[in-house]
Symmetry: C2
Subunit: 410 residues, 2 copies
């Protein structure tokens, strides 16, 4: 039940349903006793003891005396064995990747960041990632054969079941349909390799370790070069039927708007994403509507980024402020529609443009509240992602961890 | 796990997790053997035998010899005992209700339809429903104490956990906050009473017995006096954090549009629902743009319904056709946004206005396909709800059935 749809993967460990349930609890909580497991699953203490003893014999978990005492001697609690095995999270962006190796207790053992250019194509980029990972494992004395899962976030549409990108707009040069899973299974034959869209991975990071941790239904919105959403429904990532749920960047917001790189007109990201903000800023600089932006443009070889528009707005520049207000309001109006439809408890705004300044968040909030139903916004929180750049790597590790154990076929 | 959030209900039967899982399988399939249960749950045949024997002893299920043979003697299959108990489904509309009594095998034992006016307030209306139900039970010789669940769909926003309506626009006169659950628990003390929004109930009907039966993610759209959606995500109804998910009628589609009864301007239902279609038809009749509609208006004491506009369009009336095209296209454009966001495999259109004619469905389809991403519409089916008026009652029975058995607290 927990791992629907992953039966085709080479899941490293196939176990009984109750064993999988116990391990799921263990990886989500640091202090889990047999009594906790019995209470949570509804099974008897003796059944739980039998199941956990098997997991101890298999070398997956161990017993420690570190539980919190409620008066008497400290209860024995269960945890993953730190030397049981390792998981890897990889967060691939257009210009760099972030990589982490962790054990099953959740401790990060090593981490690396490296510049890349995804336009060079899959083989040189993946070789760089693989070699960096192998060198980190060697340096830490960690066995390659004990890497049981690799979770990878990539900036494009993903066929989740197949573990590959599908026609990614910002990743030309052979990424379309490239077998990323197979590439990593050669050096890591015991690992299940999971590839997912970067925004889904960031949403998962917030769900497991960030602002989404106590929320069953939320939306993570990445505003950067494009605009996309990661949807958490009932505590799991909602990918939709074709794996493209959350692809909100091409929702039409203005029938008479600018032409988008997708060919349609008036798409949300053609009006409100980073490049649109920068282009409007350049226009303001060139048409003498903003002295501040004209100064920035002159100092930066005629270039501006969305962050520059944010800096100008913070300096009190009216034109820059208007651009940010427009972008935020437009994003907010689309999110108002999604709030009425989905009724989430939290909307988290992440991605590079989310750092543009507080006026941006304020405009998004106003846009949402202006057109959402009062009932749907009664408990709604709208915030900048507190995990920031870490959401991707935390999510990639969680993605890996969630696919190590599955129920055996009978 | 199956019944999260229902722990506070007076669920009639609290059982072990595997017993609940077995009963869930039994109520979804007519032919379930112990081997089927073992295969589906991952538990051993002997564990399954122990669990099902207990359920037989409790008088909940029985064994029959009706399984399909694969060569040898016909395998014994399990099913609910027809005399174990009864469930009730009630589909309440603004002007009438539909009621059905069924046993746990899914057989409908009796059914009734009755005219009401919900504006009379909860007590006279609920008394009518209760009395009709009691007389049906008496006539069938069915014990009131064996009614274990009552599922009720109502046309307004529902606080699902509390089992009551919250500020329903078309149900004034005391419905707001009226304790419907408690009202039915007096004559039916052994029943769990579940109240839900009518569109959610219709979506559940399609999920369990209609066009949604093989789909994990779909959207049911009711177009009538208002416009609302029932969302199925991962095989369950998605109600959102405040229970108002799917309330798409007040999404803004035209900043310069007409004022809606909610007070905002340009809401979807102010432009595209039944009353808006009828009002535009009347306008066409009064301004001599439609001879057909003028004739209908004269013959009907100056009144028109959305269905009349559909009839006129079918007669070839250009003005009527344009109204239907506009309404369908506007609904389709909102659904395009939701398709990009949610990536469902099916969209079902139900409610009174869905019977308006094939041009309406065609316009909705065009509106969706015009602005959805190609990847998100690759497998998308868009159809008129095949269950029609039965979706509500089938859904209300399913809603009841799904809350009879829950995992016991430990």
């Amino acid at each position: 039940m927990l791992l629907n749809g992953t039966q085709a993967l080479n899941t490293p460990f196939r176990l009984q349903p109750l064993q999988v349930e116990a391990l799921t609890m263990l990886r989500r909580g640091t202090q889990v006793s047999r009594t906790d497991l019995a209470n949570a699953t509804g099974y008897s203490r003796s059944t739980i003891t039998a199941v956990t003893n098997e997991l101890i014999e298999l070398g997956i978990i161990e017993e420690t005396g570190d539980g919190e005492s409620s008066g008497g001697r400290r209860p024995r609690v269960l945890r993953f064995r730190p030397d049981f095995g390792y998981i890897v999270g990889i967060d691939v962006g257009a210009t760099g990747f972030d990589l982490a190796v962790a054990d099953f207790t959740g401790a990060i053992l090593d981490r690396a960041t490296c510049a890349i250019d995804v336009r060079e194509g899959p083989e040189p980029v993946l070789a760089l990632i693989r070699n960096k990972l192998l060198s980190k494992l060697t340096a830490g004395g960690l066995s390659q054969d004990k890497v049981y899962a690799i979770g990878i976030g990539v900036p494009g549409p993903v066929d989740f079941a197949a573990g590959m990108l599908i026609a990614p707009p910002i990743m030309p040069g052979g990424w379309d349909g490239y077998p990323i899973r197979k590439y990593f299974n050669i050096p890591f034959p015991n690992a299940v390799v999971i590839v997912d869209n970067d925004v889904n991975v960031m949403a998962l990071g917030e769900l497991r370790g960030g602002a989404g941790i106590h929320h069953r239904h939320f939306i993570f919105v990445k505003v950067g070069t494009g605009i996309g959403a990661g949807i958490v429904c009932n505590g799991v990532i909602h990918r939709g039927v074709d794996g493209c749920a959350g692809d909100i960047g091409h929702i039409c917001v203005d029938q008479d708007g600018p032409v988008c790189h997708c060919g349609n007109v008036g798409c949300l990201e053609a009006i409100a994403a980073g490049p649109a903000i920068a282009a409007r800023g350049l226009d303001a600089a060139h048409t003498n509507r903003s002295a501040v932006l004209a100064r920035y443009t002159a100092a930066q070889d005629g270039r501006l980024t969305a962050i520059d528009i944010g800096r100008a707005a913070a300096e009190g520049d009216a034109a820059a402020n208007e651009i940010i207000q427009d972008s935020g309001r437009t994003i907010g109006e689309v999110l108002a529609t999604l709030v009425n439809f989905f009724n989430p408890s939290v909307i988290l705004i992440g991605g590079g443009v989310s750092a543009i300044g507080h006026q941006f968040l304020a405009a998004i909030r106003r846009g949402i509240l202006h057109r959402s139903l009062p009932l749907a916004t009664r408990h709604l929180r709208i915030d900048i992602s507190p995990m920031g750049v870490n959401a991707g790597i935390v999510g990639a590790l969680a993605l890996a961890m969630e696919h190590v154990f599955a129920v055996e076929d009978t």
